[in-house]
């Protein structure tokens, strides 16, 4: 390095010093301007990553009615709404005896402080008025007690004997407004009512409201009825029945009572189920010890074979978008769940746990698949995501089977049966429902033994 270069380097040095100094100088001058801003920016940030899972306390005073008759409807409707919401497990009813504000003053406006001290988070205020034409006007408002504002307010006109449905519709509206999801209270359950000894079991088709009310039998018991399934779009069911030991697939319209035979198949038929648009039925036919999956178009009655595999392929269920189908198969050696596209291509196994998997049902919400699992001599009802991940078993029993989803995909219903009597030769079967979080398992009371429940869509 010669002298020239050294001098040049020194000049550079000096320039850099000067620049640094200027920058620092101005920064110092500006400091008093920035400092207060910086301190004003201090803002507390808190991440809440844990919480509780508790029912929301809701107060539902009897709906106001001026006359004695209306007042009675007011009490009944409030009670049904309350029972619906409490049964969902997401709400708890505030004890009416603890209410501070009376019914009449509630009509003017809620005194929120009076409800807050009861830890009420939501308040339902309703009123019933008889109309000149004999109908009832049923109106309600849902109040957010902490936020002190109305969340929703609706009114319905109905004939008096329809009050129970109106109550379910109101419960659905409240459920939807608070949870963001559609309700499922204005729905029905079809199931197989069982009676008689184990060796001569009578199996009849029965229907009831989702809360067990309005129970009635749909078939007389001469034919053995199996696997009823609701159409996702209509009040229509498909089921199997054995007449003279011949299995047939039937279509039955609940509102009109019209019944038709969908097919009279020579070979054994299993588990018919509707497609999401209600236009097709998917089922399996057995042939020489194998079974394969077919769809049938309900208008053209044309069938299409979707699987062709030398193994058992059965219990198909469509995804709500109609693009994929989940089914059970023993093609891998044990009974497992598989998903394929709607035309039968692209088959992928999704269940990999221990034990055997059966009766998969795709949630109407699309996110989960419910199934029955058998492992170590016990039966389970579980859910997994559509790709097979996140398997959770919600309930277990000696025998539990046949999950069906509520139309909003939040609740599962199934049946459990247990051996009873001397030597366990008799059996008793009951329906249960459970929240998909795995809590709030409840029995649905039925007059007879019950199996194979199927949940209806919301009644139009």
């Amino acid at each position: 390095m010669n002298r020239m270069q050294m001098t040049e380097g020194r000049y550079q040095m000096v320039r850099v010093f000067a620049l640094q100094k200027f920058v620092l100088f101005f920064l110092c001058l500006l400091m008093p301007v920035f400092c207060p801003l910086a301190s004003a920016r201090a803002e507390v940030r808190i991440d809440i990553t844990r919480g509780v899972v508790e029912p929301i306390p809701i107060a539902i005073p009897a709906f106001y009615g001026a006359g004695g008759n209306e007042a009675q409807f007011g009490r009944d409707i409030a009670q049904v709404v309350s029972k619906d919401l409490v049964r969902s497990g997401l709400f708890s009813a505030v004890d009416p005896h603890s209410f501070i504000q009376d019914r009449d003053s509630l009509l003017v406006a809620p005194r929120f402080a009076d409800w807050r001290v009861l830890n009420t988070q939501a308040l339902v205020v309703g009123r019933i008025e008889a109309q000149a034409d004999g109908r009832l006007k049923v109106e309600f408002r849902l109040w957010d007690v902490f936020g002190e504002q109305q969340m929703t307010g609706l009114a319905y006109f109905t004939v008096p004997n329809n009050w129970r449905r109106v109550a379910h519709i109101i419960a659905d509206a409240i459920y939807k407004r608070i949870t963001g999801e559609d309700g499922y209270f204005d729905t029905r359950i079809v199931y197989v009512a069982e009676s008689g000894p184990a060796n001569a079991r009578v199996k009849r088709l029965a229907i009831m409201d989702q809360d067990g009310e309005n129970h009635r039998l749909l078939s007389d018991g001469r034919a053995l009825v199996l696997t009823p399934r609701f159409s996702p779009t209509l009040q229509e069911i498909t089921y199997m029945a054995y007449y003279n030991n011949r299995p047939r697939v039937y279509l039955f319209n609940i509102d009109t009572g019209r019944q038709e035979v969908l097919g009279d198949f020579a070979n054994m038929t299993f588990a018919p189920r509707f497609s999401p648009d209600g236009n097709k039925v998917i089922f399996s036919l057995s042939d020489n010890g194998n079974s394969d999956i077919y769809t049938m178009d309900l208008r053209t009655r044309r069938t299409q074979k979707l699987t062709s595999h030398p193994s058992i392929n059965t219990a198909p269920s469509f995804a709500p978008d109609g693009k994929r189908i989940v089914f059970e198969s023993d093609r891998g050696g044990t009974q497992q769940l598989y998903v394929m596209s709607a035309n039968g291509s692209d088959v992928q196994r999704i269940s990999f746990g221990d034990g055997r998997y059966a009766t998969p049902v795709w949630s109407p919400r699309g996110d989960l698949i419910a199934f029955t699992k058998q492992a170590s001599g016990r039966f389970y009802i579980g859910v997994m995501r559509a790709d097979g991940s996140g398997e959770r078993l919600l309930t277990e029993s000696y025998h539990v089977e046949g999950p069906t989803w509520s139309p909003n995909g939040r609740v599962l219903m199934y049946f459990k049966d247990l051996p009873t009597g001397s030597g366990g030769r008799q059996r008793t079967a009951r329906l249960y429902s459970i929240d998909l979080t795995g809590y709030n398992e409840r029995e649905i009371s039925t007059p007879m033994d019950a199996s194979d429940p199927a949940w209806s869509p919301l009644i139009p």
Partner: protein, 278 residues
């Protein structure tokens, strides 16, 4: 008068001299860098020290020394907030009940808007009811290793403090509110937050709420930051309302904050995030 003018002039001169002096001092008194050329930046190894999940100190305890690594830079201000509009009672058409449903009526607007009631002491809560829904996403088979996080209320009762400083906000927090104060507040609000665990895509329902706090530590106003999604997504609205209910719950009022540091907590940004609990 003359004397006064003279004084003024003298003061002016003195002031100018002093200012000049200060400026000159700033200019010449700044440190001189010996190194001739700016050396390339070299990374400085820094140990990140994890802060334990559990704070032993309660909010009322003596001010403790900050067990934190170097204080984080003040974070940039969030984008300007929109004004929250008062939510007006909505009137929606009713679904028709069965065949006999010719008409439907919407409610009129409520005539009287009740004024906020005077703040009253929260009623002592009965022992939290032992409901079946006491924890999230049950699995009878315990397929996953029993996660301690499945029982939120219990952990909260035991006084454990989840380390929520994660996710969007990094280490979070102003420099001055101590970690124990932060923990106390987090624990308190966690007990009042009813999480939307069973909702569809619950993992996407992360709600950010900005609150303003009164000096008496009660919540003055709470505003969901994502107003657009609030108006369009009913699932998000339900989740946001659960967050607002937590902040307005009398059980969680007043907020557990150090009373003498009002300036530090008069606005608080909460991030309600259920993802860890699913």
């Amino acid at each position: 008068m003359m004397i006064e003018n003279g004084n003024l002039r003298n003061s002016m001169i003195a002031s100018t001299c002093l200012h000049l002096g200060a400026l000159l001092f700033l200019y010449f008194g700044l440190p001189v860098f010996i190194k001739p050329l700016p050396a390339p930046w070299r990374p400085i190894p820094v140990d990140i020290v994890e802060i334990g999940e559990i704070t032993n100190t309660r909010i009322r305890s003596e001010p403790e020394e900050e067990a934190r690594p170097s204080p984080p830079e003040p974070r940039p201000l969030p984008p300007a907030r929109e004004e929250i509009k008062p939510q007006t009672p909505e009137a929606k058409p009713a679904e028709p009940p069965k065949q006999e449903t010719p008409d439907e009526a919407a409610f009129p607007e409520p005539k009287t808007k009740p004024k906020p009631p005077p703040p009253e002491p929260p009623k002592p809560q009965a022992q939290a009811q032992q409901d079946q829904l006491a924890s999230v996403l049950k699995n009878v088979a315990r397929l996953k290793p029993a996660a301690p996080k499945t029982e939120p209320s219990e952990t909260a009762d035991k006084g454990e403090t989840p380390n929520g400083a994660k996710g969007n906000f990094g280490p979070a927090l102003s420099d001055r509110l101590t970690i124990s104060a932060e923990d106390a507040l987090r624990r308190q609000i966690s007990q009042c937050w009813n999480m939307p665990v069973g909702a569809r895509n619950a993992e996407t329902l992360v709600v950010e709420v900005l609150i303003e706090v009164n000096p008496d530590r009660t919540v003055q106003s709470a505003q969901v930051v994502d107003q657009m999604r609030l108006g369009t997504d009913p699932y998000f609205r339900a989740a946001a309302e659960s967050a607002l209910r937590a902040l307005r719950n009398p059980k969680c009022s007043p907020l557990e904050l150090p009373p003498d540091q009002y300036e530090q907590w008069k606005t608080i940004r909460f991030n309600f995030d259920p993802r860890d609990m699913l």
